[in-house]
């Protein structure tokens, strides 16, 4: 299931907080989180958060807003590997 986490227009620390709240709200392993943000600090903060929280991630786009796809490590989501696209 795709979960949209829209934090466009919000500054640090809201993108990470919103992602965390979504992760708590949807504990199912099959959930894939689509996090959108405009806070450029998130380019480093979101991957750092994911590493620390044992999450996989991939940067989907940078323009017109930043979008990350995030999922739990044990989720074998379409065989894709994250954690190093940027």
């Amino acid at each position: 299931m795709d979960i949209i986490v829209d934090s466009k227009g919000f500054a640090c620390p809201m993108p990470v907080i919103k992602l965390k709240k979504a992760l708590t709200q949807y504990p199912d392993e099959s959930c894939v989180f689509l996090l959108s943000l405009t806070d450029t600090g998130g380019m480093k903060d979101v991957p750092a958060f994911c590493r620390q929280q044992q999450l996989e991630w991939v940067l989907q786009q940078e323009q017109p807003f930043i979008e990350f796809k995030v999922w739990r490590k044990h989720n074998v989501f379409s065989g894709e590997r994250g954690g190093g696209s940027k």
Binding site: A11, P13, M14, V16, I17, L19, D39, F49
Partner: protein, 172 residues
């Protein structure tokens, strides 16, 4: 308690202005979102950050040379001016200067995508940040426990240190 020090964050907040309230709640909410056990201890003017009534949280360029003071409204050339650099410090002693600076600061923060400090504080509590108000300074400054938001605890320095063994402390 068996958390390692890397899984904890503790901050002692002694400042009672809006520009000092933000960093503590930003760091605390982020650490809590990263599953760290967060302990905040509020003492002296830091108690301002825990009051239900946040009107006392102000910001002033007076005696605050590091503050960047820009107009949140007006044409771009006007917004680019850092008034704390171009105006003499004496200006900030004028009546209403702190009110104007606080209004501008709040507006600027919202425009930059920051949430109001009350909302950030509530998020911290929601994420499990533990907040303690120093009972000694509450008595000293004549506050009542009912003046403060909930849920927080009231105790002294010994309780704070007993609850935060080994942990890193930032003194703000």
């Amino acid at each position: 308690m068996n958390e390692s020090s890397s899984e904890q964050l503790s901050i002692i907040q002694t400042k009672g202005t809006l520009d000092w309230a933000y960093p503590v709640f930003i760091l605390a909410s982020t650490a809590a979102a990263m599953d760290k056990k967060v302990e905040l201890f509020f003492t002296f003017y830091g108690l301002n950050c825990l009051l239900k009534d946040t009107r006392g949280l102000k910001v002033s360029p007076l005696g605050n040379p590091g503050m960047v003071m820009k107009s949140p409204v007006g044409p771009n050339w006007l917004r680019a001016v850092d008034w704390n650099k171009v105006l003499p410090g004496l200006v900030w002693t004028l009546p209403g200067a702190a009110m104007l600076a606080t209004w501008g600061f709040k507006k600027q923060m919202l425009m930059e995508g920051q949430v109001p400090v009350e909302e950030l504080r509530a998020l911290c509590l929601e994420l499990g940040v533990s907040m303690t108000a120093c009972q000694m300074t509450i008595d000293l400054m004549g506050y009542q426990q009912s003046d403060f938001i909930e849920p927080i605890s009231f105790s002294g320095a010994a309780t704070y240190f007993a609850n935060t063994p080994k942990t890193q402390s930032l003194f703000i």
